[in-house]
Amino acid sequence: MKQFAKLFLALDRTNKTNEKVDLMKAYFSIAPDKDKIWAIALFTGRRPSFKIKSSQARQWAAQEAGIPEWLFRESYGSVGDLGETISLILPEATGILQERSLSDWFEYLRKLPAMNEEEKRNHITAAWKQLSRHETFVFNKLMMGSFRIGVSQTLVVRALAEATHLEPGVMAHRLMGKWLPTETSYEALILHENKNDDASQPYPFYLAYAIEGDVSGLGHPNEWQAEWKWDGIRSQVIFRSGELFIWTRGEDLATDKFPELNILKSWLTEGTVLDGEIVCYQNNRPLPFNVLQTRIGRKNVSKQILKDAPIGFLVYDILEMNGDDIRGKSQEERRKLLEDIFERNPDKNITTLSPLIQFNMWQDLIDLHKQSRENVAEGFMIKRKSATYQVGRKKGDWWKWKVDPLSVDAVLVYAQKGSGRRAELFTDYTFAVWDSEKKLVPFAKAYSGLTDSEIAQVDNFVKRHTLEKFGPVRTVTPKLVFEIGFEGINASSRHKSGIAVRFPRILRWRKDKPPEEADTLENLKEILRSFS
């Protein structure tokens, strides 16, 4: 356990992904195989449940520490992590009996589900008594989960690939699907060759730069094609050897997350690779990104999610056809081939071509660009018709042309403490604008966009300028002004301000502006009128 605890804490300490990969790689090079498979399972969200309720663990720890439950709650509120709170609150370990490895501890935990309450309690507290503070923390994570140490499946794949000298794509594929650490081994899962190792291999994505200056600077409009820029998940869909593989831009293999796309298996020809955007999609129209967000982080895609957040795949490029790499063909040719293929598409609800925008002059495009928001798009993608499909972010042939976010200057009026990494700090803010009677009307909540040092300053301000406390919420002296950006605006009868904004976020702190000069509700209503 010492080895794994050391890895765990080191991973937690650094926020540099390369260092995380190196740490895991070092661990995978020296740890016993039976520990490795558990480590991989943990880092990729495959920890078995041991049926321990957090309320039980809380209670046992408070009793061991001899403190009342309210004091445990206060402590937890300050730490923001249950496993860690327990490790800090327990009395010092009485004695380390014997070193157990990571897999030994899992075997120890696997006895839990068959135990009654009293036995469970004794089993857990006995473990706590022989583990150091750091080990107790890691042990609690094994028992109850909720790892927040910034290790994604992608990083595990990279580390394993480097440790085993295999292609990352191959490794990603081997880690896919529904395997359990109790039913497989490191040998079988990681080291054995898999018949589809090669079939799953994606092409590197071609990425665009933001357009510089005016679109007319690109030259003759005839040389270019334009598509809406969708706000979704950039994805590559591969159909080879009768299997479908979905890669997202972070080089994550996400096949299991989008079962809707299995429909492609019924009509795509063998050896096809498509590039496009996965968005939430209903009635032939993309849904806003926040709908997609409800589904992104989920490990299991439930029936309810499939119903509430149905996805669609808006296809705009083809990279492989009949098993041939056609990235060297021009954009125009690839588009033609893609359109031909989609003639056969039997389904128009889930997979569909991302349409080309017709325009003769740049001015046409400039006019249409203003309608991006109504089309649930972020703007345009402008692609040179003669362009090949390139590797990575390259200037010259693909440009993204995004609409500016809407924004107003607003005054901070309420603040609330965050959780997890932001526990103990006032990081969740409510902003207000002036109404016609010179009163501040709250209109948006936002909690991102500030640097850590700015958060510390605002936190300090909140603590010193609290007017009233309502439970966790504090009202503060209206003094600080921030520019708040948002993606959309709607009339709303549920909000006091009469408007609701989408994805509000802090663009910057307007230290130069006194609160009296912040925007008014009338300014917001003007924006609303111009967009509806």
Binding site: E84, D452, S453
Partner: protein, 347 residues
């Protein structure tokens, strides 16, 4: 009801019989100052009184020309029949608890205090009293300090590792208190110790007043950055990830603070290492000290005031929260650390 010996007026801890204010946060006539951190020692009062070891720092921070009377620990001074004396608080150099006695009734205000002897400030002494006014900066049972020797060992091995990796060690800690404690206790290898201006100013001032502290090398625009490789560099926490720290690369940063006991606090700052070294009493030390004073009434001034006072009441010790403007020097560093630099350029 008759007035108590010390009162909480919303601008200081006030002794109305003597008309003396302790650690006032607005200008007053007569102020007794527990220690030189800026949330306790504020600008603008007519006369100050503090322990003699606080004098040079108070003059650095409040101005050379302040009217300042100094006393020794345990020396009694009587104002209008009230006997006052200062007693070591162990928090930083010159830090004191204030004892006030009038007609047999004794009150004590702890200021900020630390129990473990840091080998630089005078070690903490318990003051027996009827009413004890205590801080509660770390008044939660999660805060239990490791012995400082273990933390100094950790810092030493971290510096050794950085040296072998060809990196500088940027040791971050509050400029007054924490940094002197570190410089007195960690292993110094005889190589130059490079310093940020804020810490340099404090160090020079203390050295000039006769305190035994190592010499520091001030980093200026002209300092050759090649010299930093493998060296120890000391700076206030706010200097990390600033324009100032850019030229130190490659370096590993290590932040010394009691808050570093909790991962969240560590992860919020982009630092490489956190060392949970605090200049305040931890949970068990707060409780033990409160019991040792024998006080019947406890007033809790800052930190986790509601938690500590509720717990004390539950275990049968009368306690109440008091609203003050004292805070945690480290959490205020954002604004405070700018001052020494200004003073430096002014001097």
């Amino acid at each position: 009801m008759a007035k108590t010996l010390l009162q909480f007026t919303g601008k200081s801890i006030h002794c109305s019989i003597a008309d003396v204010h302790i650690d006032p946060w607005i200008p007053v006539d007569k102020a007794i100052i527990t220690h030189a951190h800026s949330d306790h020692a504020r600008w603008g009062s007519k006369h100050y009184l503090a322990h003699k070891d606080s004098a040079s720092m108070l003059r650095l921070r409040l101005g050379k020309d302040i009217s300042l009377q100094t006393v020794e620990y345990g020396e009694t001074f009587t104002i209008n029949g009230v006997n006052f004396s200062l007693h070591p608080a162990g928090h930083i150099i010159g830090s004191a608890q204030v004892r006030a006695e009038y007609k047999g009734e004794v009150w004590a205000f702890s200021g900020d205090y630390k129990i473990e002897d840091d080998h630089f400030s005078a070690p903490f002494e318990t003051v027996k009293c009827h009413s004890f006014i205590t801080e509660a900066t770390f008044g939660l049972p999660i805060y239990k300090w490791q012995p400082q020797s273990e933390i100094f060992d950790d810092i030493n091995s971290w510096h050794e590792k950085n040296k072998s990796d060809g990196k500088a060690s940027l040791l971050l800690g509050y400029s007054l208190g924490k940094m002197q404690r570190l410089l007195k206790n960690i292993h110094l290898d005889g190589q130059p110790i490079y310093s940020h201006g804020a810490i340099y100013a404090v160090n020079e001032t203390l050295r000039a007043s006769g305190f035994d502290l190592p010499e520091l090398t001030l980093i200026t625009k002209e300092t050759d950055k090649k010299l930093f490789k493998g060296s120890l560099i000391v700076a206030p926490p706010s200097a990390d990830n600033s324009i100032w720290s850019k030229k130190l690369a490659p370096y590993s940063s290590g932040y010394c603070s009691g808050w570093m006991l909790v991962r969240g606090a560590k992860n919020r700052r982009s630092i490489d290492q956190g060392f949970a070294l605090s200049d305040h009493a931890d949970w068990n030390e707060l409780l033990a000290t409160i019991k040792d004073t024998g006080a019947e009434k406890i007033f809790v001034t800052h930190g986790y005031t509601s938690v500590l006072s509720r717990y004390l009441n539950e275990i049968g010790i009368w306690a109440a929260e008091v609203k003050t403007m004292y805070g945690d020097e480290e959490k205020e560093e954002v604004t405070i650390d700018e001052t020494p630099t200004n003073e430096q350029s002014a001097s």
